[in-house]
Each structure stands twice: as C-alpha cells, then as structure tokens.
Symmetry: C2
Subunit: 560 residues, 2 copies
C-alpha cells in the first residue's frame, strides 16, 4: 500500500488557494500510483481558524471545499481535515473532523476526541469531543484515524478522560493515521517524536503522522511529519519548515520504505528544563522558524517590504539580519534615528550592519522633533526634572517617523523588542513597542545573543561591537539597561522559571536566586501586562510565548 504524506502550508480562510494546493498534491500522488494521501488537521480552512468557525458562512465554505476535493478522490483515498457539523442535539455545534474521501464520496468522518484547550489552543471553544470511534476499512486494511492531540493522552495523569486509540483498538485496526497541526517550539520536535513513538510502542501498529508547516500569525508549524513501522522503527521523516510530498510503501511484511530527512539542531538535553534556560538551545531551529514566519507573514498578508528602526543595538541588528534573510535585503529598509543621547558608535555600528547586509537605510535625526515637543510642553513641564516622560517622547517620535514612512511607501514595521524587555516592561508603548510583528518577542536577550552568533557563524554580518557592547536604550546620557534591569544572565533565568515553568516566588527563590530580586522581577512582569496587551503578535518559538497563549488579567493584584 502506497501512502503519501502531504505536508503543506495553508492560508487561513483562503479556500481557493488551500483547495488548489490540496488538489495539486492529490493529482501528483495519483500519477505515482498512491493508494492514500494524507493531509493535515483542518487543512481546508487552515489552522487555527479561531472565531471564523462561529460563522455559518465559513463552515459552508469548508463543506464546499470538501465537495470540490472529493471529485479528485476517485482512484485514491484522500484524508483531509475540516470542521464537521454536530447533528446530535447536544453539545457544541461542530466537530473537528478528519474526512476520508474515496470513490468521489465522503466515506467516513472521524471526529477529534482530545480537544486541546490550553496555551495557544482553544479547541473546546468551538468543538464537541467525538461521541463514537470506528475504524475505516480500505483495501483490506482497517485504519485507525485520529487527529493530533488524540494520540497525546498518554501517561499516568492523562489530560482527557477518554483515550480514542484505546476505543479504536477494540476494532483491531492494522494502521494508525494521525493528521496534525502541531506547532513548533524549541523542544517540541523532540516531545512530538517521543509521543508518536510511544503510541506506536503501545499499540504495536504502524503510524503515518502528517503535520502542517508554515506560520499562522504567531504560531509556527514546522512540519517534521513522521512514519513509524509497527516495530517502532522510524521509517520516514519530512523536512522541518518546508512543504513536502513524499510516498511511503507499507509492505506485507510490515516494513515501510520512504525518505528520512536528517534533522539539524541539537537534541534537547532531557534535564535542560529542570535547570535553566540554555541560551544556545536549538538556535538553528529558532532561526529557521523566525525566518519562515517573517516570510509567511508578508506573503500571506500580501506585503513585500519591511521597515525597521536601526539603533546600533543587538536587537535591531538581529531583526534586520533575519528580515534580510526572509525578504531579501533590497526589501528591508533600516532607519537610523539618532538623538542627542545616541553615542557615536551607535550610528557607525548601524551603518556598518546595513553596508554588510546590503540593505537600504536612511538617517533621520530626531533632535528637532524632540525639541519641538519639549517646546510645546514647556509651560506644563517647567521646573520639573528630566524623567521617563522625556525618554518616551524620543522613543515615540521614532515610532511616529517609522510609521509615517511605512504609511507613505507601504512598508510594514517589524518590531525588535525581545522577551526580556517585554517581560519587564522595559520598552515604550507606541514607541519602540510599535510594529506589526514581534520578530524577537519570544526570545530572551540571551537567545538574541545566541542568534547573533549564529548569524555570524560563517562571517561577521553583525558587527562584533554590537555584540560586545553593553546594551543601552540611549534615551538619557550614559544610560545602560543594567541601570534599570538586573544583568540579563540572571534576569532571563528568573523570567524563564516564572514564565515558561510557572513557578511561584517560593520555588524560584529556593533555586538560590536573591529573594528581593525575584520579588522585584515577578512584580515587574505582572505590572506590565497592560503593555504586552497592546503589543503586536510575537513569533512563538518557546512553549510559553506572550500573546494568545498567555492570558493574564490586567487589572489584578497578584505578586504585584
């Protein structure tokens, strides 16, 4: 039996494009004599469709796409993901479905049982869990068809009461197929492989696991689809961060033949997350994820050109390098906006970066604009000393300039804030926090340094001085980040314990960090929720990013 995995990148709600892409893969697989072709979860509409699922019009368009696709499922069986109406008069109105199409008909729809509703997932918001479980008989084989989380309910403390594979095993299936939309983070690839393998070992059946790829606003899907034989041998692996269509032949002796793409990146140390954040953990994958996400954001939104404020600091340097890789250097405009508090090396370093990368840049000093603000505010501010107000005027003047150029020429402003700054509120709303996409918003400062080193792995792209100098916002004379913040190698570790691991103050202090410092940092994080609430989407590369996956009250008083 020849089984194709179609690992594709979908555009949410773009039924015309998604359908076309699916049909092209079906036709290609048919030409190569495929018996079955497997796509990913909710592929007809793209994952996650979020509240579009609440529109009947949207659901009807999903069914229309299925109708069109099934005309091509004549000599090949096609498995696609789409929402399916719940006709039982109890529970939510939809199921998350895996449609098995053959003979130009919907032969069966399997419904998802385990509906992830945590972090970035909201599936229980839309879907009812499956009521029943049936294998699908096809060419003499019984197929156990499940959807993503359905195979994750393992272990001693399972998240869901029902384990759908246990139900399906009652009907003695021969093959497992799982269609997924399983997002990337810097350890998830390992977790996913472990879960798929554990499922194969538990049920002693071959597994064809098809994941989607591509970025959907903040959520990154890496693909990395997997095939295992029933003995638990890895027989196939599709590439990460790329579309792919590959055939796998399941032979009568149970072996499976097909391609295995070698995966770059360091394998995560099992103990790593029990100790501390390691700055260089899977930096190559993080780099690839961010580049794909910038590319996808622009392509899917119909944009081509980015604009970035270039301060001569490490965050903007890394962002500009990533944007040049994603969009091509001619499409990345850097704008240097020195003030009277900028140091000479900042402009030099920023110019050197763009000269090396070859991207266009402008220099627009903000002194006159800043002075114009101060002049108008003089009657009000008279006699008061320089404060964060004056700092923020500079930052917001830069934001205004960048947005004006963006508005005039059709650039999209990329934001350069890192996760350490966003966590502590070390940034100016409407100033350096402006932008359409937070390129580094899920990377702690230490990870930004690791990215800089990775970018420079073959040659010096980011000037060494940018990497080695002490970080500064340069909004007042002689300013350093360390005036307001702890050193990043302490700060990031405490933030990681609180944000990713969700440890409380007691547990973090027990790790040996200074108690007053822990309290101060946690307080900064919680007090600045209001700022993050107005921040753009950030490219998610960790298991806990700011944005849709982290929902914290603004008007609260907890550790704050």
């Amino acid at each position: 039996m020849k089984i194709f995995l179609a690992q594709q990148n979908y555009h949410i709600g773009n039924f015309a494009e998604n359908t076309k892409k699916i049909i092209e893969a079906i036709e290609a697989a048919k030409k190569q004599g495929g018996d079955i072709i497997i796509f990913s979860e909710l592929c007809v509409c793209g994952y996650p469709p979020r509240d579009f699922l609440e529109f009947d019009d949207f659901i009807n368009k999903c069914y229309a796409a299925i109708d069109e696709i099934k005309q091509h499922a004549d000599t090949i069986a096609v498995i696609v993901g789409a929402p399916d109406k719940n006709i039982i008069p109890k529970g939510k109105d939809l199921f998350n479905g895996a449609f098995f199409l053959y003979d130009k008909r919907i032969k069966k729809v399997a419904h998802k049982t385990c509906l992830p509703t945590y972090d970035v997932f909201d599936e229980n918001r839309y879907f009812e869990p499956a009521y029943e479980w049936d294998v699908i008989e096809f060419k003499g084989k019984k197929i156990a068809l499940t959807i993503c989380e359905d195979i994750w309910n393992l272990g001693d403390n399972p998240l869901y009461r029902i384990c759908p594979m246990d139900e399906l095993m009652k009907q003695h299936p021969d093959i497992m197929i799982n269609i997924s939309a399983s997002p990337f983070d810097y350890t998830h690839d390992e977790d996913r492989k472990a879960v798929v393998k554990a499922t194969v070992e538990k049920y002693k059946l071959p597994m064809f696991y098809c994941n989607s790829t591509g970025s959907q606003t903040e959520i990154v899907f890496d693909g990395s689809s997997l095939v295992y034989d029933k003995a638990g041998n890895l027989c196939g692996r599709l590439p990460a961060f790329k579309e792919a269509l590959e055939a796998f032949v399941l032979k009568d002796d149970g072996t499976i033949a097909g391609p295995i793409v070698e995966v770059a990146g360091r394998v995560a140390d099992k103990e790593w997350n029990l100790l501390q954040l390691e700055e260089n953990l899977n930096t190559d994958k993080i780099y690839a994820a961010i580049v794909m996400s910038i590319k996808d954001y622009f392509f899917k939104m119909g944009f081509t050109k980015a604009i970035i404020g270039s301060s001569g600091g490490i965050d903007s340097a890394v962002t500009i390098a990533l944007a040049c890789e994603a969009l091509g250097e001619v499409n990345v405009k850097a704008v240097l906006m020195p003030s009277q508090y900028s140091t000479g090396h900042s402009v030099d370093d920023a110019e050197k970066l763009s000269l090396t990368l070859g991207n266009p840049y402008e220099i627009i000093p903000i002194k006159n604009i800043y002075d114009a603000f101060l002049k108008e505010l003089e009657p009000l501010f008279k006699g008061l000393s320089f404060s964060v107000a004056e700092e923020n005027i500079q930052s917001r003047s830069r934001g205004n300039l960048l947005m004006a150029i963006a508005n005039k020429f059709g650039y999209i402003l990329l934001n350069t804030s890192n996760k350490s700054e966003l966590a502590t509120g070390y940034g100016t709303l409407y100033g350096d926090m402006a932008g359409g996409l937070g390129v580094l918003g899920d990377c702690y400062k230490l990870q930004v340094y690791a990215l800089a080193k990775y970018i420079n792995r073959n040659s010096e792209i980011i000037p060494e001085n940018i990497i080695s100098k002490a970080p500064s916002a340069e909004l007042r004379p002689e300013q350093k980040d360390s005036d307001s913040l702890p050193e990043y190698d302490i700060l990031d570790k405490i933030l990681y314990q609180y944000i990713e691991r969700r440890l409380g103050p007691k547990e973090i202090k027990a790790q040996g960090f200074d108690a007053a410092l822990v309290d101060r940092i946690l307080r900064m994080v919680n007090l600045n929720e209001y700022k993050r609430n107005q921040f753009c989407p950030v490219i998610r590369i960790s298991p806990k990013a700011f944005g849709v996956g982290r929902r914290v009250p603004i008007v609260g008083k907890y550790l704050s």
Copy 2:
C-alpha cells in the same frame, strides 16, 4: 431559615482584600442571625483569574484564604467560590468549586459541570467538569448547590451533555443555590432572569442566586442577584452595579421574604435582535456599566487621574463626561490639540464642554511639532502628495503629547475610539488608538449619540453643536467621516449583523442592504484585525465586544 446573599466586587489575586471583605460580610450576617451566607463564583481570587490559575502558588493562596474564611464559618454556613484541586488522576488539575463551610470545616465542595468556553469565557482551559453530584444536608434541608453556567443548560439544543440539576434532583433537594460570575451586557440581565425563572419552574424549588458585581478589566459584572420561591415568584433582587448584603427568610410555607430592588432601564424587546441595533436600547444601564468600569479600573490599579484628548467631537465629549462622573471632574484633564486642519468650532466646543463640566483642560497646538516631522521627512517625501501618512503624523503627535503628560504627572490616558471606528479601522494606531482603557470601544457610533443624549437628559452638558455637527477626524481640509465611511445609521446596522450576530454576507445582503457596501464593510472589519489586536481593553457592554471575547486570525484571508 435566614439566607444572606453577599453581592461583592472582588479584586483579582488580591487575597488580602477579598478575604477581608468576605469575612466582614460573614460577621455582619452572623450578627443578624443568618443560617447561610452565599458569595459568588471564584470570589476568593476574583473572576476571571485567567492564567494565574496555572500557578500552584496562586492555588495555594486560594486554599489559604479558604482556611482563614472557614474559621468564621462557625454558627453560620458559608458558601464561597474557589478553585479546587482535582485529585483524580485523569482530566485537568482543577475544578471550579463551591465550598460549603460550616463548623469551621470544609463540609463539602461542589464542582462546576458546565464550563463556559466561548466569548470571554475560557473555563475549559483550566477546569475539569464535575464527576459527581451530591446534595448538601444542612439544618434539615437538602441543598442543590451549582455554579453559574450549571443552570444555563436548558432548551432543545443544550451546549453540554450533562445537566447537573437533573443529576442532583435524584437526591430530592429542597433548595437550589447558585453562585455566579455572570457578566453584564445590554440584554443579559433579561436573559439571566429568564434562565433563573425557567430553572425554578422546571425543578419547582426555591432559588438563591448570587452574582458578583464590579468590573474586571474589560468584563463588567452587574450583580442583580435573584431570589425566587418554588412557585416561580420573584422574591428578591439585589441592585445592579453595586455591592449589597441582604437577608432572605425562607419560611416553612415555602414563601420567601426579602427586598426587591427596582431595576431601571427599558426591558429589551424580544424581537429587537432579530431586526436591528436600536441605538437607545438600555442606554441608562450602559451608562452605569461604563461609569462603574472606569471607577473600578482606576481604583483597582491604584490610579486616580485621567487624561483625555479633547477634539470637540462627540466621542471625546462623551468620554470626558463619563470620566468626570466616574472620577470627579478635578481628576479629569482634557487636552485640546488643534492642528492647522482643525475648525474653529472644535476648540470652542471642546472648551465649552470642559467649562460646563468644570474639569481642567490645556490647549497645545500641534502645528510646530507636525512641521518638525514634515521637515525631517522632506528628503524622503519630496514630490509626493498628501496622504494618510501626513494624517497619521498628526494623530500620533497627539498621542505622544498625551502620553508625555501622562508619564510626567501620573495620568492614565483614556481612549475615546468607538466600536464603529474600531470595526472599520478608522483610527490611527499609536495615535487616537492609544490609551489604557477603551471607554467607548464597545459602543457603536449610534450608541455614543444615545449616551450623549442621556448625559444631557437634565441639562446641556455636552454642547448641542457637538451632537449635531457632522463627525470629522479633521486631519485634512474639509474632511468628514462620511468621505471614507458609509453613514453611521447604515454602517452600524451592518456591523451589528456581522459582529454580534455573526451573519455572513449572503444573510446580511438578504436583509436589503446594498451588496457592494456589505462586502466593503465586512472586508474593512477583517482587514483591520491587526489594529484591534494592539488596542487596549474595551469596556464590554454588548454580547460581542472586541478583545478577549472575539478571537480572529490576523493573517487570514476570509471575506478580505
């Protein structure tokens, strides 16, 4: 049996204050010989605690609060809401619990069964539904204790598979008690009364229904707690938008004695939502909800003073009037920032408003700042015609001025954008979209006019000219909103069908609206998701507000 309802306003995560408030009410009820005192859902931590629930530290603090409260539950039974750990090794780690405290012990914890996971609710993200249902025997009565949504699972197409009251009826209860955190919207009060009454009529038991009050960031809780006797007579009603502690005596003959607070506001026409948005529907309640929300936002955040950009238009006028009512006029600073495109009457009207209200105001012209921006941009913009770039520079210069004054003196910027603007993207990110709280962000333009008329119900507070003149952003000569947008009485109706009712283009066009106009408006709504994503929380007064309750992909292509 003497039963107290304690309708209180909690601060999320502020265990010290919440516990104190709860204990004070217990002691007051004890002095009056109460048998039972009922608080609201998750009262010990405040509702909704959102991802704070993922911190063990937070859960431990909830248990510590329960420990403290139960010491006061000696001669009186106390019902409080708090998360409860799930010790069964399956499912999520927490239940949403109603703790029945008596004799200084936790006598029983009832768990919530129906976990709302739609609109602003995310309960399935945190909680496992109840596994079992037991009545609580107390002083010869069997109490069926449920939590909020547990009694909403009625009708022919229930949202949940299990109806907890049906389970509890197997044990023949005598009394129903429901603890809620049921938010306000301009029709919800009616819906809630209908559901509570229908529950009483179905089970033929008296109902003591205790809701919370107060605003939690964007979500408004009106209170309006209810008591019904088993015959379905309304025997008690607590006020809206206020704390209250009231006793109700359940007599042996089944009658109940206690206060009924008269409710202002027009009863919603049953047909209203089948036809169109009515601009003056429950405007008095909307007014009260917004005033309470501003007050709560400031009080709970520890702020006292607001700053508002005063343009001479209706949105800022209504916002200023609402802020003065909530915070006192001395605490509301209006800033008039005319440009060369502002009309003379704008400044006059804005001044007249503040003179009438008695709130302080400043005039800061933006011409010189705007010119400074244009001068620096001249090399880039040379030869290009005036566009949205120049319009936005003005708006963002105002945002920068307002934030500078806010930063200098500790004001909080209140945002004045209305729902029609937010829906269509008719606003400038980081400009007039700046601010900490969106006062009118859930009010369509027609509702803003209704609020203005309501504010002027006794005397002219908002100058008549502000209400009667054509709306304009005044960012270019002779500009009118109607240059870019359809007339509001058409626009708002189409938006309402799409946003609140989630109708698709076909259904909206079938109502008689111009087809091209419908397509254009829906496209504007979907294209501008990226702007709303960076907007501050809006005070929710409708069944579908922008913000946490409406989650739409940014990088999508649906109707856009």
